[in-house]
Symmetry: D4
Subunit: 252 residues, 8 copies
């Protein structure tokens, strides 16, 4: 039963509750936010309600034990689990406490899907420029899927061989939102955005060498896109792109 | 009447059209893309149809005469006009050929709205961290408005005085998509995205000095946002954010 | 009379206030934050109470009219005024509405001091490496002074002539906190911090040329100081250093 | 018995000391600074007296043998030992010569506390944005503790879930100085500084990927903080922040 | 037999083909681009025809299995194979399916040459500044050779010992195009271009340390060459230089 | 009559020339390089012979008087004149001494063509992505033309509207070498190089704002091109591209 | 008469001086460093004695009045005057108080030479790559001359036309130390250092555009020189190079 | 017997030599530069004569076999050997062919000294800021020693404890040239140069973390030194500093 300030004050007025008790209850309510404190982490169990999807674990910089401990708490509440940047060791630790967890090795992600997730409205196309961009593209795709979306993968369609992209024009056109993943010069989002009229979420990857500066070249290219409708996330941030495209795809 | 390959071939088969004439018509159709070549610019008059909004003129790096010449051609076809990064001189040149054009001085934009633009579905909130961010925020707002959207402006709500933002929680919650404009450390998008469950388009501004490096600090901050649902456009690119938020707000 | 939740609930319990009225008052209190909205700015009049000093106006990127309008509101409430990065034009606009305002030309600051400010406990030394660093050093000094501190200025004591610094050892030793301003290689904070046992707030300046990269060299040097007790603010941020040193100097 | 120039000259005047002996003693005094030269290092045994805490060993770039040799000399004089950036191998080498030394594995620090350290006046809050920031936050906390301060740890309170931070408002308010540790966009110090009126020492961490550029994004964000009272130390420099906060907390 | 639109329409007009069949054939032709989709890669088998050399495999970021799978398909069509950035493991995987493949260990390249390649017109000189630049220089040389060119290698002719270069003046003069490979300050292309009147393709290498910033110094040096006729490729991009010099050398 | 060592020695052997005279002549020849020293400049009059085109004057950083003095000397020897980065003031100074000089205002170049220049073999296409790129594209075109080449200009064919480029496929195909000029994300060279099999010389421009970093984004994009056959010159270096494309176009 | 501690103590011992007087004299001596404090500047009049040349005024960032005030004090003591980065306004202010001051307009320097300066031992060659590098080269030359050295200027000898440099081999060989000034790719120091066996002081200039990044390219090139004997000063720091070369040239 | 053009021509004139023979001898002399070509390297055996010290081998990027092969050739000609950046494996390979070679493990250098080296005139002081800077400082010291200089090492004298440096004032003063090695903020060269009047060669090291950016902070600090007489070499380039200081110390 949710807290109701009006009812509480009514009770005080009716003499069913003392003023002191009322003050205490209000204070308690303020503190009763469903954040579970593990010492090294504070799990926000109400995020699913507030933001449409439960808290996601970024595996990077956390030990397998820390990941497993957080994962167990999330699943215990019946929430869908998503761990990104997880290596096989982290998966082993998670699987020990969440046997139903699945490992997506190309995407380096752990998922355990519950029924709570609502379906997105249209299709999300995840396009990738080259074979080496697959880990990031798969992270975006797996993220979007676990968040309830239908994903259409369109890989190795870089701009140096335009016909590979142009012949998939229909699939691009059928999307409600498109995630475009590219390293090196990062030109693909500009070309794709010029062909469609839906939002394009661009993900630069760290693929390349030399003056790619670990994805900086692709990032700058995408930020300077001459095409309308392109917004950008961090280098290699497939998760972020999957998440944003899901938010867009869930809009009524 | 749109070109129809099947009908054309039927006509040939029926003897109503010679093969040579048919080949000519197909070739003509392929070349008949409505691109008007001014020598220094090729205006794409079909963009409204293909991308939902006519070609927009980026004033930066173009002379007033070039801007006016392109503007005249766009309006002549009955399309809505939007010129960004336009100074008063450019406006004077445009006004001479498009008397109905309006100048938005804070946003540095010229518009001339036609009836063709379809309305967006919900409200776009444009939030700005500080007073100095207004030119960019207004560029985003004017862009979104001319593209048919209802815009709610929420200015000077930077993170150093959180209560200024928190008391506008309801307005944030009422948005279908939020544009967040901030310079200096660029922290506002992370805080806003943590409070809502709709897409946030973040615009770093070049406001600041020293280690802001003309907006680089804000840009990097936004790209590294720990909140889900934030994508980023170029520094000072209010137009881009307005455009993307409009695309999102026009999705069925 | 400050809002008191316990008293309010007592009143409801005593029948002196209906529950509905109580709920309204609590809501009103929550919204009654003393933020004054000018459209382009939201002035936080309670900051003096919450943070020990009223809101400060960063002149950069604001028009003289905007600055004057905000200044007028701050002074109207009886708060001390501080405008940084203000040129003479801004001062003229402020003076028109706040005749008592004073202009510090080297520091490029406008002040109008009220009686409310409490005095700091010790002396703040502001040391500057070279003559060209004076504008930033003066901004720090004026800021600290208007916030109620005694300031001792120690200028042109760069490390290339150590004896100039060493002979002022006593003045350094007498400080409760030291602001050190330096451009070029920014080595002065390290040397000063090695001589004292109080906090040193380092301010890199954009003084220099070539590989100083507008203060980057000094900033990096200070961040990498091998001496203990050095923290750093933004390039040319004399205000920030004055403000922090004042906070430290006001600690009981 | 400290050297006293006046007394010495009195003795010469009284004939109790020859002029030659006097000149020798003055020279000796000048050279008699308690610096112990190990060839590869010069240990400054008077730093505790001069700066309030004995020399600290930065483990980075030193061999375990070098670290142990310096540690032994420091402890031999009765000083408190602090080694930062020390791995288990370095600890083993130190423990062999200083059996009482303690290893803090998350903080990667070795300590051996003596009675000499004077207690700080208030509490130092060490707040960290995420679980991955713990090593740096712990380095700050351990440093502050070994220097005689009471530390209150407040971990995983990043800005994307504001309520986690806001509910700890009281603990923030109870601090005399606050260390804020954050990676990625580094927005936490701005938000914290907006809520309190004590100095905030910000520590960017190298946590993140892609455009975090090993902590650069967080560093720039913190340097450009729009909140007053924030100064910054080097990326991952938990030691520096602990040290500065201790200096501040020891001010009378 | 190539597709011929005119003939097809003639056939329809003659009643030899129905309009529906004709529409189908045109659609088929549009889709019939010889791109083979392996899921993780789309191989463009017509590139040899379109661009003068078959698709080249960049080994970087691809697994040995992926490389071998693509290699097999290319060779199966009778095309010449070139894999760059290939380590011995990748070679083993390729050799298993393409026994005739050759490994160039300094160049880290795998080749399998077919008869199709047409010969270039003149000689390509590949000059390298230092011994450490050899892997990149060899990648350029092997690339040019497999593309049908005669290559003259001129190694260790850096500018600090000019006589080493000047005595090879005749060999430089005999080239139709020159590839110049250099790390560190990257000055060699400027000197070479001043001595000849043919195009110079400059390749910066990541050789160096400190302020070479992994080849950035050499890259910037080459981009700013004061000599005419120098164009630049990515750091360590020997393949790119070999490829461009081959294109130039194949011009009639 | 060119110097001939063998003949000279024959003359000495025949007694027609003394050994001393011979030594003098050899020394004279060594010093007789046709370099004219103006004090502030050394003009290399033999460059036309050595490199196929006379010395070109980079106007940047030279005074109008210096430019005119050098121009006069070049024309006096009958060489073709090309001054780049020349403003109208420089032109006025040149015109005073070289009345036949022509000013190309978009390209900011001064030329005075003599008959000596040999014609290139094919056509050089100069393609530019946007209207704002015209000054750089024109510099390339004017340079190529004055060096004897036929130039085909193809402007405003950026990748965001692919059909504008694709319909000019034939003109691209007809080129012997292509110069591609683009700012912002600099994606055009990759797309063009994927469509042709001739060398592409890419010129990044400083067009853009924010994260274009004055052309750095375009430069990095072009250096990381995933298409074969792209080499790059400095930002805004239209002259360099014109010069290289001319060298290539003059190859037999 | 210089201070002599031994004599003073002898006097005390002899009763010619009281201990109190002696202590005072020692203290006085310690404080009696000849630093003249103008408030905004502390002039170090003993630098000529300590460092071989009087204090030099860097004009950058100082007002004409400040420059003139310092200049007057230096000349008043009979020291040689050198002001760098001085514009004509500064010169006018200096000339008003030091009528004998001379202005070097290319070098932007003010000098007033006194007899005190001792002559250097050999010749300093100042070589510059291009005409645009002259201001920096002249600053180096004027600095070296005013410090007592013979300077040989060798201008416009860039590496793209090697013969211009090689024919001046004898002048290079005759130098005791060589200053090499170059912008753009900054390759000249490497080539020069390969031809001689004396120290080369390299000065990068900000000459160039685009990827020269205001001299960064030249700076990095010089720092990565593959030739032995090259050390580097700041971009455009002709003064520094003149000063170092003078120090070297004055060594016995 | 050195080649003498005059004598040769005399011989021809005298009939003792035919013109054809003379032409051959001149050509032979031109080609007879003592460069030994190993394929992967060209050893310049005349460098000792031309530059005062034989060719030095930079071990970085060369295989042990390559290093040993070059070393053997150098020693075979009786030249002194110096290999820098050499690991123990390289030493083992060298020792196999040059048994007398010595390994300096801190400096990571291999030397084999011959009698040819002439002694420098004075003492070279090598000062290092911290213990971690020792490898670079030792590389400088070993280099200077093998080139015939007397070296005085002064280690761990960083600016945070000035007294450690000041008490060694006499040793600094006794130097003819000083090498100063420092990481982190790189402030030591400025302080040292302010105390002496001899050239200071500054070597930034990559010691540090975070915003030291692998030595960039120290490098920039040194380039921006406010002290006169400081020139800089590449990060970690101890060899370069040793070499330059030796060149200076060998000047008559």
């Amino acid at each position: 039963m949710p807290f109701n300030l009006k009812q509480l004050l009514d009770q005080i007025a009716a003499g069913n509750l003392s003023a002191a008790q009322g003050a205490e209850q209000i204070a308690a309510e303020m503190l009763a936010q469903p954040v579970e404190d593990l010492g090294f982490a504070r799990i926000d169990h109400q995020r699913a309600q507030r933001q449409g999807f439960p808290e996601v674990i970024l595996g990077l910089g956390k030990s397998p034990d820390q990941i497993a401990a957080i994962a167990q708490r999330i699943v215990a509440r019946g929430h869908t689990l998503l761990v990104t940047r997880a290596d096989p060791t982290a998966y082993a630790a998670v699987q020990a406490v969440v046997p139903a967890a699945v490992y997506h090795d190309i995407a380096r992600a752990i998922t355990c899907r519950m029924h709570e997730v609502t379906a997105g409205r249209g299709t999300i196309v995840v396009a990738a420029a080259g074979t080496s961009d697959l880990p990031v593209a798969e992270e975006a795709a797996v993220t979007a899927e676990v968040m309830g979306n239908t994903v259409d993968r369109l890989f190795d369609v870089g701009v140096a061989g335009l016909h590979r992209l142009l012949r998939e024009h229909d699939r691009l056109r059928s999307a409600r939102v498109i995630v475009v993943v590219a390293g090196m010069e990062g030109a693909l989002p500009s070309v794709v955005a010029g062909l469609v009229s839906v939002p394009v979420v661009a993900v630069p990857t760290s693929i390349g060498y030399g003056a790619s500066f670990h994805g900086l070249a692709a990032l700058l290219g995408m930020l300077n896109s001459c095409a309308n409708g392109v917004s950008v996330v961090n280098i290699d941030n497939g998760f972020g792109a999957g998440c944003i495209s899901s938010l867009i795809n869930h809009l009524d």
